[in-house]
């Protein structure tokens, strides 16, 4: 009996590893394919662009990973990003204290996430509905902040974040990678991280184990908001500007797509931040590669949409494969 048990376990482990790795070959194949088609995808210059393009989505998707691991969803990150970017640029326009735009933007993001989390955790409302509401409401706030105009700052004191690099690596990519590393540490090396997996895996069991489920939920939505605020800072730094209406539109969808592509289960409890990184890279490679190959904007939408659907199919298949004994 014990041999079959271990065999089962081994198959399970193998499958889990395969699904975590599962998307890496896809990423590599896409990169090679685009290189063969365009002839310039794998140039140092272009890869640097891809990393920059992937960075903001990676940061949002990291926050989304926390949320989806608990079995929730955060639809409001695009709007939070817009509001934070507005705050970042507006604060940067104050002489001498312009650098405070960074903490201000992050604080705004954290505050938005905290409100989301409080409503979800303490009023016990469904995350989909709560964050759907804040998607709209915070979008309105973002427009209000600049009186519905675009705010500029050509002398942005923290523009190095958006356009500078260290040893040839863009700051944006460094921030994204650092976010992934910190997220990995929190998820895999801390008590809170274990609780996040436990809540997503079996919320009622988590409660009976003495885990304070509301605190865990409050935390994940706060993290998601905070990282959306960081994304807003990155976005503002890149553009020297922010617009409450257009910025961050449908970013939540890219972030969710990255998480699901990375093998994190939509029902929670299973997944990893490294998968999310690969998912975000796949989306960036797709966007960049499709442009290089000359696919029209319209077809890019169609292809990206299909990728999301295929990702959900994979999620289903994986859950079936891991059917519990």
């Amino acid at each position: 009996m014990s041999t079959t048990t271990t065999e089962n376990a081994n198959t399970l482990k193998l499958r889990t590893t395969l699904t975590a790795l599962g998307m890496l070959p896809v990423l590599i194949l896409l990169a090679i394919g685009f290189h063969l088609l365009s002839g310039r995808f794998l140039s140092v210059n272009n890869l640097s662009i891809v990393m920059q393009q992937a960075s903001i989505n990676t940061v949002l998707a990291a926050g989304m990973t926390f949320v989806i691991l608990t079995g929730g969803i955060d639809l409001s990150v695009g709007s939070i990003l817009a509001a934070s970017a507005m705050v970042a640029v507006i604060v940067s326009l104050f002489p001498d204290i312009g650098m405070l735009g960074i903490p201000a933007a992050i604080a705004v993001g954290l505050a938005c996430g905290f409100v989301n989390g409080s409503i979800i955790a303490f009023l016990k409302l469904p995350p989909f509905i709560v964050t759907l509401g804040s998607l709209t409401a915070i979008r309105g706030v973002a427009r209000l902040l600049g009186n519905d105009t675009t705010v500029f700052n050509p002398d942005l004191p923290f523009d190095f974040i958006g356009n500078g690099s260290v040893l040839g690596i863009p700051w944006l990519a460094i921030i994204a990678l650092a976010t992934v590393l910190v997220s990995w540490f929190v998820l895999k090396r801390t008590v809170l991280g274990t609780w996040i997996y436990a809540v997503g895996g079996n919320v009622e069991a988590a409660r009976l184990t003495g885990i304070k489920v509301p605190i865990v939920l409050l935390f994940v939505y706060s993290v998601s908001g905070l990282l959306a605020g960081l994304g807003g800072t990155m976005s503002a730094a890149r553009l020297y500007a922010a617009n409450g209406l257009q910025l961050g539109q449908s970013y939540e969808l890219d972030a969710i797509a990255a998480v699901i592509l990375g093998g994190t289960s939509f029902v929670g409890g299973v997944g990893s931040i490294w998968g999310t990184l690969i998912g975000a890279l796949i989306i960036a490679v797709l966007s960049n590669g499709l442009i290089l190959v000359g696919v029209s904007d319209i077809w890019q939408y169609i292809i990206k949409g299909l990728v999301i659907i295929i990702a959900v199919c994979l999620d289903r298949y994986r859950l079936k494969g891991l059917s519990r004994t």
Binding site: T5, T6, A9, V191, L192, N202, A205, G210, I211, R324
Partner: protein, 526 residues
Amino acid sequence: MSVTATAAPRATPVLEMRNISKTFGSTRALSNVSITVFPGEVHALMGENGAGKSTLMKVLSGAHKADAGGTILVDGQPVVAGDPIKAKANGISVIYQELSLAPNLTVEQNMFLGAEPSRAGILNRSDTRRRAEPILKRLGVGFGPSSQVGQLSLGERQMVEIARALTTNARIIVMDEPTTSLTSRETDRLFDVIASLKSQGIAIIYISHRMEEIYQLADRVSVLRDSTYVGTLNKAELSASKLVSMMVGRDLSSFYKKEHHAASGEQRTVLSVRNIDDGRRVRDCSFDAHAGEVLGIAGLVGSGRTELARLIFGADAKKAGNLFLEGKELAIAGPRDALDAGIAYLTEDRKGLGLFLDMSISENINIGVIGSDAKAAGVLDFAQAKTRAARAVTSLAIRTKSTSINAGALSGGNQQKVLIARLLETRPKVIILDEPTRGVDVGAKSEIYRIIDELAQNGIAIVVISSDLPEIIGIADRVLVMREGRIAGEVTGSKDHPINQEAIMAFSTGSATSDAEKSKKDGNQP
């Protein structure tokens, strides 16, 4: 013991189930069971929880397919096994314990759910009404076809279920504990309806644990025990003692461990529960649990045992009552408070409420203590977790090659041990085990009994909730019997005078309410 009824000189049987067996994997849920049901008869089915009643009814309704060799005859014609639609077409209708109505729809919509009178996909509302009204009139109910089901009482909903059965011209209606959630007036109403269905020639298979209902309703009673058919009694032969002894009556005492007696000296009360009440399922329960004692809680499913445990553990909010641990009153607002105080609870629903199937064995064992073990800034202490997991695997004999594989890959018995390990890591003073051996194979069962015995020897107060009477008698020093949310009685035993099984059954079915004291005394006699 076995009393086979001589078939009454009535019409030919409407239903015959012959030699029905059903195995799930390696477990035999039914073994060669045969019953015969006549038109216009109320045929009661009795037996302990897990005796096979529900499985038999699921075979009848087509939800389960019986093993090869058994036959089901309706009006003498064999029917296809394992096909719910055919079963319905043959006039077999099952009303399940948990009502299966859509509360947001009207009575008539529910009655015809899935078989709506329609033409070309367009609902025929007047036809629906025309067919619904006479059925409701026949049942004599106080609501109309357009009432919303969500606004009806539980008893009225039951009537809707019966009305639904009648829309398909049911001739055999199975009722599985229909009165569990009914008031006594609703029960009377149901019995009137049953009488009128009888007079119309419809056969009722009636599953219940309540003796008084069986006396009142049943024409014949068939008893199952341990997946086998024991016998059938006619109305004239019915007696509580006969039925109880048919339902119980086996000896497995050597299987159980009860050595902790020696260790327990004078009784030291650890947990005192006083007048705890949730206003619904648990009514005014009080008891004490002592150090080094195994206290059993018996009672039928739905008698409030699990609900009582959850109230003590803080998993549900109580309306009234007090808890004392070692004389000090506890304020418990949730499971965390209970665990901090030293009360641990093992859920009856291992996979649904206990395990994290996608997490490792080690994580499952440590999840309750990682917070207190953690290093600065909440960083996990992996070394400590590994030590704890390794120790638990050894002391509880959890069979696994590694503690890093997922808990979902373990067998039921080993999963249960992982959950027990989790509670032991919190160093509890009181452990409440809810159905600790449910779905566990025999080998693991005896190991769990050994673990319980050792814990009691170490001075922990243990409360075991179990539906398995031989088990509870085998391991407990004292048994509280719950019935309808209250503690109906207490049965104690000693080394020479084991706990009396019949006394427990009598308390749990209510046949001993009037002479509770006498039965209590009987419990102490050999």
